[in-house]
């Protein structure tokens, strides 16, 4: 007897998206993970948008704030109250802390109401929750391409919502145009698809760019006119490291006529603070009914009260947060600059970007055929020969072949150097077929002196723990 009837359609269809070929990259990494001393020829993980640059700041804070834990002698007097607390409103001080952090990440230009903050199981849970609130099965949400691959699962798997791509391309640096929106909307209507809203990621994954105010305003005008929702996934808000500065939808709302009840924000601490393991997803809605309904739904993915308590403490430390945001920004800027300049030396350009934990790398000139097949072929070479797990643009539903997302914040400086070295060697081979290439000299690094000593800090085996079907964290190895 087949599984079809025993299990549900949802359980047996492919909409979880995990059967995609892109997981081959993960598998290659898991079979042969890079380690600076034990496996220097292994695959370097560059497909993981994690922020590993500022753990030292949080670790130091933890050492100095033992009451933030309900397990320490200083904090255990709260253990039973916290362990017992399952109110879906969430700890008031936690919500206050999150609202405050969100505001600071926006330079204090907007304030957030803690009463509108809903919890969910990470941004993954938040995105699904907002869909359950706004759309019925077979309804559609428009989403600009290229977009985060897991949106297919998060927005559509159990909800039955379909995604309508709004095509963006490199001709204008992937900006979302009114024309593209209208076209996508029109086509949906022609096919009798009920469009309930538009979802954007700002700052963008995978582009690493922020939307400018004009574009944001045009999006608001669009949804106002069509009377559809606007969901703004702002989970990379505090990763904006250089100008132009990040503009949140909340700021735009202050400057124009709009139907507030159509606007919702998705947030998380997984990227800005590098805490994906803590599962802190946030839905912030300007619509009272959505807040009310969403709060009930949050029962399915509340944040552990232990974690809420810890973060309430951390986020209420204003001085720490101010310092954290500033240092994080600086380190991201530095890493981004180092990486992109390194690529420039072999004429690899990335989309100019000001945010995110990755670059949108343009490898179009390396494609043997300017097709998606060509892109996949190049991708397999990068994985198997160059030994870097990067993400091909097609996995983000990009309309043009040749773009790759490369993460740079999930590793240490030395590993970035190794990655760059490999890329330079590869590009050198590909583009010159034996011709001598003049290497640009640049200030900081000389490839002959690549440091591979790690005595200055403890290098844990596999500091990086990919969110892949095959776990590879030291916490897994520990058993």
């Amino acid at each position: 007897m087949g599984h079809q009837r025993l299990l549900s359609k949802i359980a047996t269809n492919d909409k979880h998206g995990e059967n995609s070929p892109y997981f081959d990259g993960w598998k290659a990494y898991d079979r042969n993970p890079f380690h600076p001393t034990k496996n220097p020829q292994g695959v370097i993980q560059m497909g993981l948008a994690e922020n590993q640059l500022c753990f030292d700041l949080i670790e130091e804070w933890i050492r100095n704030n033992s009451k933030a834990s309900i397990c320490t002698p200083e904090g255990v007097h709260l253990f039973r109250d916290i362990a017992n607390f399952q109110d879906y409103h969430g700890l008031p001080q936690f919500r206050k802390g999150v609202a405050n952090f969100m505001s600071k990440a926006r330079g204090g230009r907007v304030k957030y109401d803690p009463e509108r903050i809903l919890m969910s199981g990470g941004a993954t849970g938040a995105n699904e929750l907002i869909m359950f609130c706004l759309a019925d099965p077979a309804d559609a949400f428009m989403v600009p391409t290229p977009y985060y691959p897991a949106f297919v699962r998060d927005l559509g798997w159990r909800t039955g919502v379909q995604l309508i791509p709004v095509h963006c391309d490199s001709s204008n640096n992937f900006k979302i145009t009114r024309e593209a929106l209208e076209e996508a909307y029109r086509e949906a209507k022609q096919n009798n698809i009920n469009v309930k809203g538009l979802i954007i990621t700002n700052p963008s994954n995978p582009l690493g760019t922020t939307l400018d105010k004009e574009t944001l305003k045009s999006l608001v005008r669009f949804i106002n006119e069509k009377n559809i929702h606007l969901v703004c996934d702002e989970i990379y808000a505090a990763t904006a490291f250089t100008t132009p500065r990040f503009v949140s939808i909340s700021e735009v709302m202050l400057e124009m006529e709009c139907k507030k009840e159509l606007i919702h924000i998705i947030y998380s601490l997984s990227k800005d603070m590098g805490l994906p393991g803590f599962r802190v997803g946030i839905v912030y809605s300007y619509n009272d009914d959505v807040v009310s309904c969403g709060r009930k739904m949050s029962s399915f993915g509340l944040v552990s009260s232990q974690t809420q308590h810890f973060l309430a403490s951390l986020l209420s430390d204003e001085d720490f947060i101010d310092r954290y945001l500033e240092i994080s920004k600086r380190r991201l800027a530095k890493r981004h600059s180092f990486f992109t300049k390194g690529l420039e030396t072999v004429n690899i350009a990335c989309l100019p970007s000001n945010s995110g934990l990755f670059c949108w790398m343009n490898l179009r000139r390396l494609l043997k055929e300017k097709t998606f097949e060509g892109e996949m072929k190049l991708w397999r070479v990068i994985i198997n020969e160059v030994k870097l797990n990067v993400s091909p643009g097609s996995s983000f539903n990009c309309s043009e072949p040749g773009w790759f997302r490369v993460c740079f914040a999930n590793m240490d400086d030395e590993t970035v150097e190794v990655a760059l070295k490999r890329i330079r060697a590869f590009v050198g081979r590909e583009t010159n077929n034996g011709k001598r290439v003049e290497l640009k000299r640049w200030k900081s690094i000389n490839t002959n002196k690549l440091r591979l000593s790690f005595n200055s800090r403890r290098f844990d085996e596999n500091v990086m723990s990919p969110h892949s079907p095959m776990p590879h964290s030291p916490l897994v190895r520990a058993t």
Binding site: S66, N84, Q86, P276, G277, S305, S473, P474
Partner: protein
């Protein structure tokens, strides 16, 4: 075009039920021994607050865990980054061992067949998404946990059809009730995908008998697309005989032929919210031998993973076998004592309870206090108990009980002192109101009752999550 989804605007979340609405009254006027001695005592909350001191003393002896350390070294960043939906192996191993220990080690569980979720709330919903869809129904014996209406039905579109159990046989599941439920579902054009039982039962506080297991197994055995889900979140609260029998034990005892028919259609739900008293930590689990269910549920758990910080703390705690052994036995002792207190206290007021051996509550028989054998009378009595006696207890109708007059009364979420106060109040109420007002105010009651229901259903309720 409707602005929000249908799910957002319907009432299937069930939070307009009186079960959750009693909270409001409590929140407005909560009992405090010193500050508000006439306030309402919370007895509608199935929390286990009896054994926190044991957990706290464990923490005092294990300082490493608190500072995100293992062997003195910081593992903060590993935990911060750990979002693998397979869960922390150390935690899953500790959890399956704990579950086995609770079952007297008569069964063992394989960590690879376990899926971690954000609480049993999420586990139940996820399991529904895996095995059923709109147009399907699950049969549930009544009375059942009110939250199931939300957890099993709301976003999944699955229906619940009740298996009516009655006091005539102590609310045991009978073959005819099972058959009747099945027919009821068919009449409603629903495909029956299985049966879900809570064992030990909420709200009854009893464990399933072997006879009931036989009925259930017989029922699903030859219906090849039917599942049996056993919600065993109260398994560690069994404090007296008969001892707890898990559905996994039943499977183990079956002949290989029989077991082969159903092993991949039986699933267990677990949580640490009741046995360890940690509902805030959101630790739920699905256990199944069906690989496809485990695979699908694992992917779905992305929507509600357990915080790595919490997994780590509990891995350490539950790996301490000396501790878990002591905890399980001491916790059960305390529950037994507390239940005795409640039963005796109610007895003194001439009120009987269903004989129970588990859970954090008693199923109390107040039929003799009803003005009439109706649910309106039950509501009237409930209001009296909330407002006049000052106890928030849960009326049987909120648990879909088929007979009026039963109430669930919790005993493990308060101090002994407070329980004593509650018992005194009950005694006074019963002695004061023998032969008192019935029927005379029914006309105005009906009006005020419907006003009240209308008022309550239109508010956003500050209802803490609980069972």
């Amino acid at each position: 075009m409707r602005l929000l989804s249908r799910k957002a605007t319907c009432n299937t979340h069930g939070q307009d039920s009186s079960y959750f609405l009693g909270w409001e009254e409590y929140e407005k006027n909560p009992y405090d021994k010193v500050k508000n001695p006439n306030g309402i005592i919370q007895m509608g909350l199935a929390e286990n607050q009896l054994s926190f001191d044991l957990l706290e003393s464990w923490l005092a002896k294990n300082p490493d865990v608190s500072g995100f350390k293992r062997d003195g070294k910081s593992i903060f960043r590993e935990l911060a980054l750990f979002q693998d939906y397979h869960g922390l192996p150390l935690f899953k191993k500790a959890l399956v061992d704990f579950m086995a220990e609770i079952r007297g080690n008569k069964v063992t569980f394989d960590p690879n067949h376990m899926v971690l979720t954000a609480g049993a709330t999420s586990a139940n919903e996820t399991l529904m998404f895996c095995v059923a869809e709109e147009g399907d129904a699950f049969l549930l014996p009544t009375p059942y946990y009110p939250g199931f209406d939300r957890d099993l039905k709301w976003r999944t579109g699955v229906e619940i059809v009740p298996i009516q159990c009655t006091s005539s046989n102590n609310f045991r599941i009978t073959e005819s009730a099972l058959e009747q439920a099945y027919q009821d579902a068919r009449k409603r054009n629903l495909r029956v995908k299985g049966v879900l039982v809570t064992n030990p039962s909420n709200p009854l506080g009893t464990t399933l008998s072997r006879n009931e297991f036989d009925l259930l197994v017989d029922f699903i055995k030859d219906k090849e697309t039917m599942h049996l889900i056993s919600d065993e979140i109260y398994s560690g609260t069994v404090f007296s005989s008969p001892s707890f029998v898990s559905v996994m034990e039943i499977l183990k005892e079956m002949t290989p032929n029989d077991a082969a028919k159903i092993w991949n259609r039986v699933h267990v739900v677990y949580s640490l919210s009741k046995d360890l008293g940690l509902p805030g930590f959101r630790v739920g689990a699905i256990y199944s031998e069906n690989d496809a269910v485990v695979a699908a549920a694992t992917k779905m758990s992305s929507f509600g993973l357990v915080s790595s910080q919490t997994q780590y703390l509990l891995a350490a705690m539950l790996s301490d076998n000396k501790f878990t052994k002591k905890y399980i036995s001491e916790n059960q002792k305390r529950l037994r004592r507390r239940q005795r207190m409640l039963v005796t206290g109610l007895q003194k007021a001439g009120i009987k309870c269903l004989k129970s051996n588990a859970g954090l509550f008693c199923w109390v028989d107040m039929r003799h206090l009803l003005c009439s054998n109706t649910f309106e009378a039950e509501m009237e009595l409930w209001k009296k108990i909330v407002y006049q006696v000052g106890l928030n207890i849960s009326p049987g109708s909120s648990c879909h009980c088929s007979e009026p007059g039963w109430f669930r009364v919790c005993f493990a979420n308060m101090s002994q002192d407070t329980l004593n106060v509650a018992m005194k109040r009950v005694k006074n109420f019963v002695t004061d109101s023998t032969g008192a007002e019935c029927g005379s105010s029914s006309a105005c009651f009906t009006k005020s009752f419907s006003n009240w229901v209308f008022r309550l259903s239109s508010r956003d309720h500050r209802a803490p999550e609980e069972r």
